[in-house]
């Protein structure tokens, strides 16, 4: 069972072929943190949307700083412009403030970066569970996110750690209960 899908740079590039880049991405000054406060606000807002959209499109739930610096997200080769390390941290700090990002360590080398909050994921999963009449049944965590049934759903392929946090929010609402059975991690929905 492979939980963490290793995304090679090649796969990433291919995935970006049909990505809808916003006009700012092709605007050279977008890669310079703007001195004017109002303009900077607009710029950071655009960066946050872009980063989250990128994560969603590539189904990534985290970010590694070293990789990020050379990723197509922060480095537009055609334009010959890239966000400096400082600038990247500025954008990520903004995402942290908005609740989308959590640093995994003090050195700020890698983080969890999700385009939906755990509660939002929980809602989406529960809605699907109800629509499939899966309440009062049990399934393994793997089945839930990697089974055939959930193919095409937004949470398909969801990172396990994120999934667990999402299910915990449902636990708090008594809509689910995490459990172990047969040695596998599972969940029961109510």
């Amino acid at each position: 069972m492979i939980w963490k899908k290793e995304l090679s740079p090649f796969t990433c590039e291919a995935k970006m072929a049909d990505f809808d880049w916003p006009w700012q991405y092709k605007f050279p000054p977008f890669f310079t943190i703007q001195p004017n406060i109002e303009t900077r606000k607009k710029q950071l807002e655009a960066w946050c949307s872009l980063v989250l959209e990128y994560q969603r499109h590539t189904k990534q739930y985290g970010l590694d700083i070293t990789e990020a610096q050379s990723s197509v997200l922060f480095y537009n080769k055609q334009l010959n412009r890239k966000l400096s390390l400082d600038a990247i941290y500025t954008v990520l700090e903004e995402l942290r403030k908005r609740g989308n990002l959590t640093w995994k360590d003090k050195t700020r080398k890698s983080c969890t970066l999700i385009w939906r909050t755990y509660a939002e994921w929980g809602k989406i999963i529960y809605k699907w569970v109800v629509s499939k009449s899966l309440t009062n049944t049990v399934c393994t965590l793997y089945e839930l996110t990697n089974g055939e049934d959930s193919e095409g759903q937004e949470f398909h392929g969801l990172d396990k750690d994120v999934l667990i946090q999402a299910l915990k929010t449902l636990e708090a609402e008594r809509k689910a209960e995490l459990m172990d059975f047969d040695g596998s991690e599972g969940v029961k929905f109510f």
Binding site: F27, P28, N36, N80
Partner: protein
């Protein structure tokens, strides 16, 4: 030699003559008036015919609309002078420009986030036409300029700057001096400009160039680019055509 009859008889004759003249005068005036009345009726009828026949044309065809405006100007009529009255009611001309004015404001408000409140008139035209829908009338640059003129009267803070061969519409209050419009003109080719460009191509002093560029950055009209090589460059979103269909 007979003198004019004096006395009461004379006076009576004079008033009689006067009365007759007066009658004649009134009669003439009356008939003239009646004639004028008939002419007015005819004129009004013709005008109504014209209106009915061409109301659609005026709404649909920018060329026709322009010619209509020029005709009105030549006879000293401003069909947009008020929203009431013959022209407005019969031709709906006032409504047309009023609606257009509202659409212009909407586009400017929606795009000001991107361009700082300064939009090229071509982009404005494209977006207004798009927002009017596929089957509606074509809009010309002349239409936009007239509608904006009306908006200015309402005090909407709109101003139009001539830049190069075209116009930039400013929808946020703020002073764009001639220096600023010249900078925009200079930047039109590549969408950006450096301080050296202004110094070398316009023979400006460095201080003047710096001041103009700083102002435009402060107003949110220009973004700075620190990765443009030897020198920082300044870019203007309003000069970069936005071909997206969204109003963002």
């Amino acid at each position: 030699m007979s003198r004019r009859p004096a006395g009461i008889a004379a006076i009576k004759n004079k008033s009689l003559a006067q009365a007759k003249y007066k009658d004649k005068g009134s009669a003439i005036a009356d008939s003239q008036f009646a004639q004028m009345g008939k002419q007015m009726e005819m004129f009004k009828g013709n005008l109504e015919d014209f209106a009915t026949k061409h109301r659609d044309d005026i709404r649909k065809d920018p060329e026709f609309r322009l010619q209509f405006q020029e005709m009105c100007a030549s006879i000293g009529v401003d069909p947009l002078a008020s929203s009431k009255g013959f022209w407005a009611e019969m031709l709906g001309v006032g409504d047309f420009y009023y609606e257009l004015g509202i659409q212009i404001v909407e586009v400017c408000m929606a795009t000001s986030k991107r361009n700082g409140g300064l939009i090229s008139i071509e982009e404005l035209r494209r977006k207004v036409e798009a927002s009017r829908g596929r089957n509606s009338q074509a809009i010309s640059i002349d239409d936009l300029l007239r509608a904006i003129k009306k908006l200015k009267i309402l005090g909407n803070g709109f101003s139009v700057h001539k830049v190069g061969g075209s116009f930039l519409v400013q929808s946020v209050p703020g002073e764009l001096t001639l220096d600023h419009t010249v900078v925009l003109q200079q930047a039109q080719e590549k969408g950006n400009v450096t301080k050296s460009d202004l110094v070398n191509l316009l023979s400006w002093e460095e201080e003047r160039a710096r001041r103009a560029l700083d102002f435009m950055v402060k107003e949110g009209l220009a973004w700075v680019d620190h990765q443009s090589g030897n020198e920082h460059s300044f870019w203007f979103p309003s000069l970069i055509p936005d071909f997206s269909n969204s109003l963002n």
